[in-house]
Symmetry: C2
Subunit: 312 residues, 2 copies
């Protein structure tokens, strides 16, 4: 009683998680499609040098790493469709992916739609991204040895990353719009005790300025109404991260910030729906953790479709 | 009240999990050491072609992938010590790693000691490993398109992987020493229904034979006492996997098979002790999942040592 199925697995999102899922799914004998509305590669394509993806001991651009993963996925037969998904129907054995131009019946779905750091939305921010503006201290902190940097934000992540950055930078400002940090006491205390950290209270970044690279930011003090400039070699923006969960947020379990909760198979509570990469709840969002999620999700999707083979 | 600490983190094991942990730990500013008693690289070094590590679209040998990870870890300052660990003392803030020749005080430990597939222990098995004898269908199954292969074993993994192999191979034997499969009913049923699968009951492999590559195995039927030969292009051995948990098995939580149970930070119930790679409980044991574990463990160890900075 096999229905007409267009694909064994539809992977939504063509970043490292989706591409790694495709490598495993396609190589594992599944008819595999990736839907990516923009450029294949995801967020990582904007990173000039990726120093920490294990196995690339010569730095490689994020674009090149993603491109290699794309070639690898295609080598095993993955189709890549540049179509925007309008909706996914996730009935147990009749999943339907609807794009702006087509409909596809698929057996299983891997959601790898990623997440985006919340932007400040100020002038110069986009221009200097990758040239002094960063959203990831784990990725870029080591590039700022003996430099002066700032972190924008006051939550746990912002303050933890500021402390982390003191291992490299000679001076770390925390620019915070309020007069107290939201971070938990232990972390706050660490920041206060750290000689390299200076907190600039009640202030917001109005503009990022520089030449080819960032040189300074313009600050506005909300209490005194004063405008000032701060010279910097880099600025790390930690004002939140937004998971791209729109397609499934009403049907899966989410954590407080909206990241998808998965079990150890990368499965969700919907049978045959898996999630992988930055969109899922986890400790560390990096290319290697995304790729690992994708591989596990594909492995699990393959087992699930095989177990339910007769029912499609 | 800082004691003399030799390293911020000691990583036990130099396979992909340990090497990736070192890349993240050393790049994250930790004084990092890897202890590896044998060759750096671990199990993967015996794999001729790794097709599915995301980002290497041209096949690369396991040895070369591991070697690139080693160079990357060393680039960021990791020390690699070829010393055999005798014991680890895991007191909260006074961890002591004792090797055959030295003692080291360390703040945190990442256990990445791996696991080994249980061998049959028969003649020809070692000689043909990587030349027709495999312990991983996910890794090598795709290389056996339209070939004849066998799986040895009768548990869930053995039978699941036999079913998986029917996607590629034209014929899959299951060689099992008993007269019934241990695998759960659903999986057993799938195997019985699959036309490509033939089960050889009550039989054990006595020898693996061939030229440069495997050609056949000698079988012994325990009931009839008959000896026979079976022509094959490949054989997958699924008779168990043994986690290398000796150093910590009395102090951490283990699953039924002896794999270490970790939380999402890759932490164990001992503060400052993390585990990563094949030695931990998880769904899929691959280079990419090991590397991901290692990165997460290093990230978590860095946060933990920073939080406890004053106490060392």
């Amino acid at each position: 009683m096999e229905n007409k199925m267009d694909f064994d697995v539809a992977i939504i999102g063509g970043g490292p998680a989706g591409l790694a899922a495709a490598v495993y799914a396609a190589r594992g004998g599944m008819k595999t499609v990736i839907f990516e509305k923009a450029l294949v590669g995801g967020q990582i394509t904007t990173t000039a040098d990726v120093e920490n993806y294990p196995g690339f001991e010569d730095n490689m651009s994020g674009f090149d790493i993603a491109d290699k993963m794309r070639m690898q996925a295609e080598k095993f037969g993955t189709e890549i469709k540049q179509e925007n998904i309008k909706s996914i129907k996730l009935d147990h054995l009749n999943k339907l992916v609807e794009t702006d131009s087509n409909k596809y019946n698929v057996k299983s779905v891997i959601l790898a739609t990623g997440a985006n750091p919340r932007k400040l939305g100020v002038q110069g921010e986009a221009k200097y991204t990758g040239r002094g503006v960063s959203y990831c201290a784990t990725c870029d902190g080591a590039l700022y040895r003996d430099k002066t940097v700032a972190v924008v934000g006051g939550g746990d992540s912002a303050v933890e990353e500021a402390i982390f950055l003191t291992k490299f930078a000679k001076k770390v400002y925390i620019i915070h719009r309020r007069d107290e940090l939201r971070a938990v006491k232990l972390i706050r205390q660490r920041a206060f005790e750290n000689d390299k950290i200076e907190i600039i209270w009640d202030s917001i970044v109005k503009e990022v300025k520089g030449g080819d690279f960032i040189e300074k930011v313009e600050l506005y003090n909300k209490k005194t109404k004063e405008i000032s400039e701060l010279e910097l070699d880099g600025i790390f923006i930690y004002v939140g991260i937004i998971p791209n969960n729109e397609l499934v947020k009403s049907v899966v379990d989410l954590d407080e910030q909206g990241f998808i909760l998965t079990d150890e198979t990368m499965g969700t509570k919907i049978p045959g729906l898996y999630a992988a990469g930055d969109v899922v709840h986890k400790v560390l969002r990096q290319v290697v953790t995304a790729a690992s999620d994708g591989a596990t999700a594909a492995f699990s999707a393959e087992k699930w479709t095989e177990e339910n083979k007769d029912k499609f």
